[in-house]
């Protein structure tokens, strides 16, 4: 391989390397088998009735909205 071609190839490789490092591989995510934590009681938005009532009141009085806080489905990423 000629020296210029090799330098060119290395430049491309270096840029690709930097892009991969900068993006952190772009595959960082919670895996399906790690989602048990999401289903714990502490993760529920409505775990504290008083806080929920206060939040609802705030939404209703300040933003004229209400309800719509529940989310259906499990967290296993299967269906």
């Amino acid at each position: 391989m000629k020296k210029t071609a090799r330098t060119q190839l290395l430049k491309i490789l270096a840029v690709a390397l930097l892009a991969a490092l900068a993006s952190g591989c772009s595959t960082v995510r919670v895996e399906p088998w790690e989602r048990g934590t999401f289903t714990e009681y502490a993760m529920r938005a409505d775990r504290d009735p008083l806080a929920s009532a206060m939040a609802e009141h705030t939404f209703f009085s300040r933003e004229a909205t209400g309800g719509g806080r529940a989310v259906g489905g499990s967290s296993c990423g299967c269906n």
Binding site: L10, P32, S74, C76, C78, N79
Partner: protein, 165 residues
């Protein structure tokens, strides 16, 4: 522009990052991992058709799949089907409570350190793998879709159990 050592370093780093970013999910034809067959208490799988399932007590479709697996076990265990259901619950109490409630007739175990699940990287919960008598992966079922999945599994098991080793 770069010295030879720098050039080598760039190539090695690029290869290392590629390897780190690679996601090694199991593909048809891959063998049943030794981490499963070597786990404590796993029944003998040599020459058997193996249904390997990953489940968790917090996963609703997993709960729905257990009665179906119990039916398949009853139907095919005598002909060479081995079901290995791997629970991946963090909490042992949740794992045990689930088993106490469902009382599965097939083999179950807990992947406490998540070594098996991290190696096999199931794309969803539950994921069911079917291995033929040759110990090679044939099909992967993602999720559990009730009667449809059960019918597909039954059909595929019928075909796999007819195969000679």
């Amino acid at each position: 522009m770069w010295s030879r050592n720098n050039q080598r370093a760039i190539i090695v780093a690029a290869l290392a990052i590629t390897a780190l970013c690679a996601r090694a999910e199991l593909k048809p034809g891959d063998p049943l991992p030794a981490s499963v067959t070597g786990a404590v208490g796993v029944p003998a799988t040599a020459g058997q058709v193996v249904l390997l399932d990953f489940w968790a007590s917090w996963c609703a479709p997993c709960k729905a799949s257990f009665p179906a697996f119990a039916r398949l076990h009853e139907e095919f265990a005598g002909r060479g089907l081995v079901i290995v259901a791997v629970g991946i619950d963090d909490k042992e109490s949740a794992h045990e409570a689930f088993l106490k409630k469902t009382k599965p007739p097939f083999f179950t175990m807990r992947d406490a350190g998540k070594a098996i699940v991290a190696e096999m990287r199931p794309p969803a919960m539950p994921t069911t793998y079917l291995f033929g008598r040759d110990g090679r992966l044939r099909t992967v079922h993602t999720g559990f879709h009730g009667k449809q999945t059960e019918a597909e599994l039954r059909e595929q098991l019928e075909a796999l159990l007819k195969e000679e080793n």
